[in-house]
Every structure is written in C-alpha cells, then in structure tokens.
C-alpha cells in the first residue's frame, strides 16, 4: 500500500510523522521524500546510501536553424511558451520547458534536437535498524538543483526510482509530500491508497487544511487527519473534520518535551506513549487503505 503524508501549511509535522511511521511500520517499505525543494527525511532516518544519480530533463535545442520553414507548429503546441517561432527560426527557453517532447515530434524538418536540463539529483539507500526502527526500511528522495524552478519532473523521477526499488523487492510506500496545494504536492499524492493530512489547530492551520482537502483529497482516496500541537489553539480542526466526515487518526499534544526532542532529531516512537499512538496510526491507515489495496 502507498500512504502519502501531506498538509496545506508547511511546518505542521509531515516529516516528523513520516519518520515515525516509517520507523515503526511492519514489513518491507520505502520511505520516499518528495519534498525535493527542501528534503529532510534523510536527516531523521540517517540512511546509508546505495546510490546517487544526476537527474536531467529532455529539452529541445535548435540544431539546424537553416532548415526551419517558420511553420510555427512547435510554438503552437507548447503550452508553456518554452519555444516560440518569431523570426527565421524558433527560440527555445529551456528553463520554461516541461519536457513533453512534443515540439520534437511536430517538427518535420529536423530543426530541433534533444538537449538536457539538469534538475538536481536523486538518491536512495537503506536505514539501519540499530536504534529501534523495525527492519527492512529503504529510503528514496531527491534534491532540486539550486536555481531550478520546476520540481515536478524531479518528483516524477523520484517516484520512478521508488518503483524500481519496489520491483526489486516489494513493500509498502510512505511518502513525505511537499507542503502546499500546488503542482508539487498534487504530483506527490498521485496514485496513493491513503492520504494522511497533518494539521495544527490554529486559524492558519484550519485555512490550509481546508485548501489541502479541496486540492488533494479527491473523495476517491481515503483520507485521515493527524492533529499536531493539539491544545495549542482551539477546536477548529475537530469541528472541520466532523463537518467533512474526515477521521482524526491521532492527536499529538502541544508539549515542550516533544518539541525539544524533535529539535534534537529524536523520533516520536522514542517518546513513551507516542510510540503507541504511532502504532495505532499505522493500523488505522492500513484499515483505511484496505478496500483499495484489496481491490
């Protein structure tokens, strides 16, 4: 099964929850950090790396400008204005390209060739079971190149890597999604069996949970909520979840000792009753996903 941990608002505790779930999860699993703009899951899971790979995107380059008839087919096809035909031959803006390859397909005169844009890198490895994590935990993630504006193509490559790892050695997937409700977050929660939204009970937290539910929870994917820093604000998240028929699967209290432990990189499953809470959360997620996984 595939579970994605997401949130509208940043800093609600996605990685904290993903780390704890990944550590206590029974059986083989891959923890996937899809927040390629600011990956941090590896800081908590401290894996030993099996590999790193430069990630590139295929973009067009103008190889034979003299062959251009100025038909404009490439420019009309491109939804992102990455290639425009204005003068005698097309002008390419590789940083705008999403890499669909359509312009190379429609050009009948061989004006364009395949070039590369560096997106960043992807990495993969395995986490040790030394400090109490249950065995058979692998990790995959990516890091966007500084200056690169588009994270979705890299997120797709991270997903491909995770799928390769699963093909080698099957297991469950725990995705740490990027924050927000735009393309990167949507791309990370694609094709998951269960969605877990982490929210904090503040006006900001409520607002962004609302956005996340509208953007990410399609109604087809079973969705649950974890309230983090419960007791910090008011009952707004509970009321919202009740109204929208979203189960609250766990509530992590707003406590100084938890915050201090998190700041030191200590996972939740090392903190007494929170371990039990995380184990219950893992069971609830499996139950929520069951109808989909069985189908």
């Amino acid at each position: 099964m595939i579970v994605a941990i997401a949130s509208g608002k940043g800093g609600t505790g996605k990685t904290t929850i993903a780390t704890a779930l990944a550590r206590i999860w029974d059986g083989p699993r891959v923890a996937v950090d899809m927040d390629v703009e600011a990956p941090n899951l590896h800081l908590f899971l401290a894996p030993s790396y099996d590999g790193r790979k430069r990630a590139v995107l295929d973009v067009p380059v103008v190889l034979h400008p003299e062959a251009c008839s100025g038909c404009g087919a490439c420019s009309r096809l491109c939804a992102f204005k990455a290639i425009i035909a204005l003068g005698d031959y097309p002008v390419v803006f590789p940083e705008m390209c999403h890499g669909c390859g359509g312009c190379l397909e429609v050009c009948r005169r061989g004006v364009l060739g395949a070039g590369k844009r560096e997106l960043g890198e992807i990495f993969w490895g395995r986490a040790g079971a030394a400090d109490g994590a249950s065995p058979d935990l692998r990790i995959a993630g990516g890091q966007l190149r500084i200056g690169e504006a588009m994270s979705v193509p890299l997120i797709r490559q991270v997903r491909t890597k995770a799928n390769e790892m699963l093909a080698e050695h099957p297991g469950d997937v725990i995705i740490d999604a990027p924050p927000g409700t735009s393309c990167p977050a949507l791309s990370a929660v694609r094709e998951v069996d269960v969605l877990l939204l982490v929210a904090e009970p503040t006006p900001f937290g409520l607002h962004d949970l609302g956005l996340a539910v509208r953007a990410l929870a399609s109604g087809r994917v079973p969705t649950g909520v974890v309230v983090n820093r419960a007791g910090l604000g008011d009952d707004c998240i509970r009321a919202f979840c009740h109204k929208h028929d979203l189960p609250i699967l766990a509530e992590i209290p707003f406590r100084r000792d938890i915050a201090e432990a998190c700041a030191q990189g200590i996972p939740l499953d090392h903190m007494g009753e929170l371990r039990t809470m995380m184990e219950t959360l893992a069971r609830s997620l499996r139950e929520l996903a069951e109808p989909r996984v069985a189908a």
């Binding site: 420019s75 992102f80 204005k81 990455a82 425009i84 204005l86 003068g87 002008v91 803006f93």
Partner: protein, 115 residues
Amino acid sequence: MSLIAVSAQGDTPEASVDPRFGRAKGFGLYDPSAQYWSYLSNDAAQAQAQGAGLAAVELLARAKVTVVLSGSIGPKAAVALRAAGIASVEGADGQTVRQAVAAHLEMPQRGDAKS
C-alpha cells in the same frame, strides 16, 4: 513603416504606461505615418501561468509592431523581442501612453531606423 506599442494600463492614449511588459493590461498602438491610435488587449498573455512576456511578444509580432515602450522588460521577453526584430525601450513608465510616444518620437531614432 513603423508601429509603436506602449504597455498600457487602459485602452486610451491618456492611460498610464503599465510598468510591466508581459503582464501589462494591454498595449496602446500608434502608427506615426497614419497618425492613428489603436489598442491591443493583453488578456491572453496575462492569463498565462508562465511565459506572459513571451506571449506578449508573440502578440506584438503578429500585430507587426516595430518598437515597444515599457517600464521594464524581462530577460526572456528581451531575447524574444530581439528574435522578432522588435526594438525596445525601457523606463517609459510614470507618464501617459501619449506622452511616452511623443517623447520617443522626439528622440533621435536609432533602433527604429526604418521610421
């Protein structure tokens, strides 16, 4: 034959110059030989999630504009304008479209030698 485009916040020559090029509301067009004003809406480019400046260049190229006056023009739009053979002048904001055109026509013509 020259055709001057000015990024504009409204559809008359008395509108303020829009300091933005790609996300300008529209373009005031002036044909000096015919002494004729017209207006080109930039709605389509404004609706672009990305590449608004490039869409605006395409719009101006189709309209056969030869020189564009604006506040500032982004680096990608500047490349596209050069490819399209359209001259550009930045720093034209802070006045009306009519004033910008008048100031441009008073200047010694360099990039717009054809006029």
